[in-house]
């Protein structure tokens, strides 16, 4: 059977060929993570986490401003974006099987694909120009908008996995539907919600482009939300394109910290639900 032999060969070729493609796909992951560790580990020190940047060109100093700035920006973005996203997701999961729900779902999916920099342009006009300054608030609003589609769609999907029998049990006990949703569905779907939240945070924690002209940057640890604020990704960018060796060293270290954070959140999100996340 020469035909069978040929077909079998093709089958084996295809298996190995596609496995090779997976390997090729993973080369960048290994290369990036490898280099980050190799270059970044030396830059991580106590000073890196606790000190402010030194004046330009002097060695030493740290990124305390960027670390605190990122934490505040992402936290504030969460305060704005998460409630909106979660409540929206509840609607989509519980009431959304109608034309309006479909429209919203479609819009959020589309929104997830909009370049982040255009969100930056939007917020620049909406917040920065009106407040007459770059501010942590503007940065947070930008990140909140970017979070929205991720939280909404991931959470919706996972809320839908809550068995309908649980809802029926709640209703059968005479609870109004909203109590069932808040008390039963949300509690059962808590891990799903946590997943959505974590994926969203992981996504926006690394956002750079729209922050360049919303949160801007700052070399101080500042709690003032109406003032510019530093962030890890923006500082990595500024340091990376600069000519200073010491800044490069710090950029690698900061990149390592950022990637570990983002990857940890992603892995955690997956462990919690054991559900492969969304396509993005």
């Amino acid at each position: 059977m020469p035909g069978y032999f040929r077909r079998k060969t093709f089958d084996i070729l295809a298996r190995w060929g596609s496995l090779a493609m997976v390997m090729v796909a993973l080369v960048p992951l290994v290369a990036v993570l490898g280099y980050l560790t190799y270059k970044g580990i030396g830059g991580i020190s106590w000073a890196f986490f606790t000190q402010l940047p030194k004046p330009v060109g002097e060695t030493g100093g740290g990124m305390a401003n960027a670390l605190s700035g990122s934490a505040i920006l992402v936290g504030l973005a969460g305060l704005i974006g998460l409630p909106v996203g979660l409540l929206g997701a509840i609607y989509l999961a519980e009431y959304g099987d109608n034309a309006f729900g479909k429209g919203v779902r479609f819009c959020t999916d589309v929104m997830a694909g909009i370049p982040s920099i255009t969100v930056g342009i939007f917020v620049y006009g909406l917040v920065v120009l009106r407040m007459r300054r770059f501010s942590a608030l503007a940065g947070a609003v930008t990140l909140a908008i970017l979070m929205l589609p991720i939280v909404m769609r991931t959470t919706e999907e996972l809320l839908r996995l809550v068995p309908v029998t649980l809802r029926e049990a709640g209703l059968a006990l005479g609870l109004p539907k909203w109590r069932v949703i808040l008390g039963v569905v949300l509690r059962t779907g808590a891990s799903g919600i946590a997943t959505g939240v974590m994926l969203a945070i992981a996504r926006v924690a690394g956002e750079t482009a729209p922050l360049l002209f919303t949160a801007f940057g700052s070399r101080f640890i500042s709690l003032k939300l109406d003032q510019p604020m530093g962030s890890l990704p923006v500082q990595i960018y500024t340091y990376a394109v600069s000519p200073y060796e010491d800044w490069h060293r710090q950029a690698w270290a900061a990149a390592l910290v950022l990637v570990l954070l983002v990857l940890a959140l992603n892995l955690l999100a997956r462990v919690i639900t054991r559900q492969p996340g969304s396509g993005r």
């Binding site: 007459r132 801007f216 700052s218 101080f220 709690l223 939300l225 003032q227 394109v241 600069s242 000519p243």
Partner: protein, 347 residues
């Protein structure tokens, strides 16, 4: 809809301001990358003198400095290029240019095996940036550098991709020495370079030159020095090759009287020692400050900068302001007011 949005914004702003602590006064500045090494040093030092004043300066380019002060998104702007008439027209109130320091735009290059000593005539500089001289062993370059081993490698030009005062100074120089540059490209904060790679900020251009063998670019002196980059000597008006130095920059400014708006071009100046691409760097402030506390802190800082601050410049390769020019700037600082009251309490 808009009123709702405004109300929302007002609430947010209000919440935002109350969160911040009242003790520290934070001043926001943005603009030129040219004086950034010096400014960041100043701001770090000044905080030691007056710990409650935090000055945050973001080096986004002179174009950005002008734009942001016009939008009033920052408390002060910084630029190396005088505002254009068009930009001035957009100012809603009186804006002052205050010269803060003197610097040099240097031509830095990355030619393997040639760590220093490249000499460039005006024609060579213009030729390279116009894209007419494309290899390092072009006769126009070798003629002035007989000892140097210039390779047959191609030249990669690096320029500023953002709106930049350094570009404004450099293109002003090119337009002065090369009629062809003047007609085909012109001068300004961001022009269409006929050739090359773009980098963001002085930092970015330095980065590009440093990482690309065969590259040449223009940056502020401090950036080239701090990064141990090779710097070219340039033939000045008097026909001498001058390496950029504090001396050469000072020579360009010494003895000149500041005009009414305090903006003075120093490119292609006369004198044997004069380095031909020197420039003042300015801070832009509104005459009438909206917030008295912040205005006061700003004026005190600027006063300190043009006096004690000048001593910090030399270590970073910025030349001090010539002594005879300081009084004109002092006088301008005394004009700054908040609610009509002068802010400067020193004599």
């Amino acid at each position: 809809m808009t009123t709702l949005r405004n109300a929302l914004l007002a609430v947010l702003t209000c919440a935002a301001t109350t969160v911040g602590s009242a003790q520290t006064i934070s001043l926001q500045g943005a603009g030129a990358t040219f004086p950034y090494p010096l400014y960041s040093k100043w701001m770090a030092e000044y905080q030691k003198i007056d710990p409650k004043v935090q000055i945050n300066y973001q080096s986004i380019g002179s174009g950005g400095g002008i734009k942001q002060i016009l939008e009033r998104t920052v408390d002060f702007g910084a630029t190396d290029a005088e505002m254009t008439a068009q930009e001035r027209a957009k100012a809603t109130a009186t804006l002052h240019h205050l010269p803060m320091t003197l610097g040099a735009v240097v031509i830095t290059y990355n030619v393997p095996g040639l760590a220093s000593g490249l000499k460039l005539t005006q024609e060579a500089v213009a030729g390279i940036f116009l894209g007419q001289i494309t290899t390092w062993n072009d006769p126009k370059l070798t003629a002035q550098n007989p000892g140097a081993k210039l390779p047959a490698a191609p030249i990669t030009v690096a320029y500023r991709s953002d709106g930049s005062g350094t570009t404004a100074v450099f293109t002003e120089y090119l337009a002065k020495i090369s009629p062809e540059w003047k007609t085909s490209v012109g001068a300004g904060k961001s022009v269409k370079f006929p050739i090359g790679l773009g980098g963001k900020g002085n930092e970015g251009v330095t980065g590009v030159v440093k990482s690309s063998p065969g590259a040449i670019g223009y940056v502020e002196l401090a950036y080239a020095k701090q990064n141990q980059m090779a710097i070219a000597s340039i033939r000045n008006q008097a026909g001498k090759f001058v390496a950029p130095s504090l001396e050469g920059v000072t020579a360009a400014a010494q003895g000149q009287k500041l005009p009414e708006n305090l903006c003075l071009s120093l490119v292609d100046g006369p004198g044997v020692k004069t380095y031909p691409i020197a420039a003042f760097s300015y801070i832009l402030v509104y005459q009438e400050q909206q917030d008295a506390t912040k205005g006061k802190a700003l004026v005190d800082f600027l006063w300190w900068a043009i006096h004690d601050g000048q001593k910090l410049g030399a270590a970073l390769d910025y030349a001090p302001l010539p002594k005879d020019q300081v009084p004109a700037i002092e006088a301008r600082l005394k004009l700054l007011t908040a609610n009509g009251k002068p802010l400067l309490t020193k004599k």
